[in-house]
């Protein structure tokens, strides 16, 4: 057990002053996929550190390999998170990100994913990438939990490197699953609306 993880979590909490609101969902150690809007590099850290300790230990953020494997500090932080690094540029047939995620989580871990793919600078959510659909098609037992992260983009906007310690708010919504016979487009639309709906709660 290394000490960096709790310290990192404490820093994340302090920096973002995040309030966690479990809206139609309770914290649980069952296998889940938390999917959230993506506006800042800090999103993963803030969401991950706002989870209760025992859930945090079982939750692995999915992050971009090209960003998190550069330099010395980033890979170290990624290891503390227990992050799963995904190659965004090179998607191989037998090594698809979804397969990698499923292999890595086994029957124990939960995931944090940002289905928008890239950080968003617009007010509205971007369209979701299809990974979430394939993930839940291959593992229909995973609970898909929508999360809306508010204000973290003001703590550390895109292109800035110094964070401003404002207060942010994380809202967790009701779990959802892939319905039988639901097609990809409908499912992704429904997932996106589930996140967007939390904005106004």
């Amino acid at each position: 057990m290394n000490l960096t993880a709790p310290v990192l979590a404490a820093i994340g909490k302090l920096l973002s002053g995040a309030t966690m609101r479990w809206h139609e969902c309770q914290p649980d150690t069952c296998q889940r996929v938390y999917f959230a809007n993506h506006t800042s590099h800090l999103d993963a850290l803030v969401l991950w550190s706002s989870l209760p300790g025992e859930i945090r230990d079982l939750t692995r953020p999915v992050a971009a390999k090209d960003y998190w494997s550069k330099g010395r500090v980033r890979p170290y932080i990624a290891r503390c998170f227990n992050a799963i690094l995904i190659d965004r540029d090179e998607v191989k047939v037998h090594q698809s990100p979804v397969d990698l995620m499923i292999r890595e989580i086994g029957t124990k871990y939960s995931l944090i994913v940002f289905p928008e793919g890239r950080r968003n600078t617009e007010d509205d959510l971007q369209d979701f990438k299809s990974g979430l659909y394939y993930l839940s098609k291959k593992r229909p037992d995973l609970e898909l939990v929508p999360v809306y992260i508010d204000n973290v983009n003001r703590v550390l906007p895109r292109g800035e490197f110094l964070p401003v310690p404002l207060l942010s708010c994380i809202t967790v919504g009701a779990p959802m699953w892939l319905e039988p016979k639901e097609n990809k487009f409908d499912f992704l639309q429904r997932a996106r609306n589930a996140v967007r709906r939390l904005k106004d709660i």
């Binding site: 002053g17 003001r154 800035e160 110094l162 401003v164 310690p165 404002l166 207060l167």
Partner: protein, 351 residues
């Protein structure tokens, strides 16, 4: 002057001014007595059947009592630990209040660097300057209103986003001024060399060897915080008892002229009763308490105005379930500079 030469001055400030002398202890005892009574009354009220009292009022009452417990406990802890820790403590409160203020007011991407300066440079710097005591008065009294206020628009301009420029600048300036600059005048009281109304050093009797005992600044700070908080309670109380004429229904529906006047008069009365804890004497402690009440009232109204503009009820609800720091200290922020300057001008040797 080199930093090394400043150190003795700094240490001199830490010394005797904030002793918890017998009078301060009596004042503390009174406060803790009131709070303990409030706590037990609150508990008793909570056990009452719902028909006899409005549960929302009781809940507010209990929350307020709890907030005051925390406030006074923290203040006492700070005073026991010394001048520097009290200043640090108020610095942390300022920081948190500013955080709530800026979180609530929308800023744009271009303001990010300016906000970083505001949080990481100006806020700590103000409290470091106050930490050096009244020696630095001429610096900490202009740093934010002049230099930070000029820096902020310049930095926003350099960031290159002209949209709603004046509005964005004003928001950051107002936040810094109210949450940081104004509040920093409360711990600054501890740095004053207090005199009584005639201009001689404030003493409270003599010790066994016939040496005069100087009064403690801690009790003056305590007096101030107590006056502001009691004024809030009295206004609330009088509004409930007699309130008919609401001052500005769109800004705050619960503030009435009756509450305001009754509150200010009650605060003046209590201020006179507690004049022994201050260098003001019986005649001046009343008016000073009255001015504090007026400024505190102005602070609550202003913050209500900002909150209504942003469409939130409490700063805290934006963040979590309970009322935030800024809701508790709004009146303190406005009253602090007024009280500080009155005390400094009339009741201290202006070093």
């Amino acid at each position: 002057m080199s930093p090394a030469a400043l150190l003795p001055l700094f240490l001199a400030q830490v010394g005797p001014n904030i002793r918890l002398d017998p009078r301060t202890r009596i004042l503390l005892g009174v406060v803790l007595g009131i709070l303990a009574t409030g706590y037990f009354v609150g508990r008793a009220l909570r056990r009452q059947p719902e028909s006899t009292a409005n549960p929302a009022v009781i809940r507010t009452f209990n929350l307020r009592i709890r907030a005051w417990w925390m406030m006074f406990m923290v203040l006492i802890a700070g005073l026991i630990l010394g001048y520097v820790s009290t200043v640090v403590l108020f610095g942390v409160i300022s920081f948190w209040a500013l955080r709530e203020f800026i979180t609530m007011t929308p800023t744009r991407r271009g303001d990010h660097r300016t906000l970083f300066w505001t949080f990481v440079i100006f806020t700590p710097l103000q409290y470091v300057l106050v930490g050096f005591g009244s020696y630095m008065y001429s610096v900490y009294t202009v740093m934010i209103p002049v230099y930070a206020s000029l820096f902020i628009p310049a930095r926003v301009a350099i960031a290159g986003d002209p949209k709603r420029f004046l509005e964005r600048v004003a928001k950051i300036q107002a936040g810094l001024l109210i949450c940081v600059y104004c509040l920093s005048h409360a711990p600054a009281i501890l740095g004053l060399e207090l005199t009584d109304a005639t201009g001689t050093r404030w003493t409270i009797g003599t010790d066994a060897a016939d040496n005069p005992i100087p009064g403690s600044n801690a009790s003056v700070l305590f007096f101030f915080v107590l006056m502001v908080q009691l004024n809030d309670v009295f206004q609330y109380m009088w509004s409930h008892l007699l309130g008919k004429h609401v001052i500005a229904p769109q800004i705050n529906a619960s503030r009435t002229w009756e509450g305001f006047i009754g509150g200010a008069l009650s605060t003046m009365l209590v201020g006179m009763l507690l004049s022994w804890a201050t260098p003001f004497g019986l005649y001046w402690s009343g008016p000073i308490a009255g001015v504090v009440a007026l400024a505190g009232f102005a602070g609550s109204m202003t913050m209500s105005g900002i909150k209504r503009d942003r469409g939130v009820k409490d700063y805290g609800t934006l963040v979590s379930g309970h009322a935030g720091v800024l809701d508790r200290i709004d009146s303190l922020c406005f009253a602090a500079p007024v009280f500080f300057h009155l005390t400094r001008f009339f009741f201290s040797t202006m070093a």
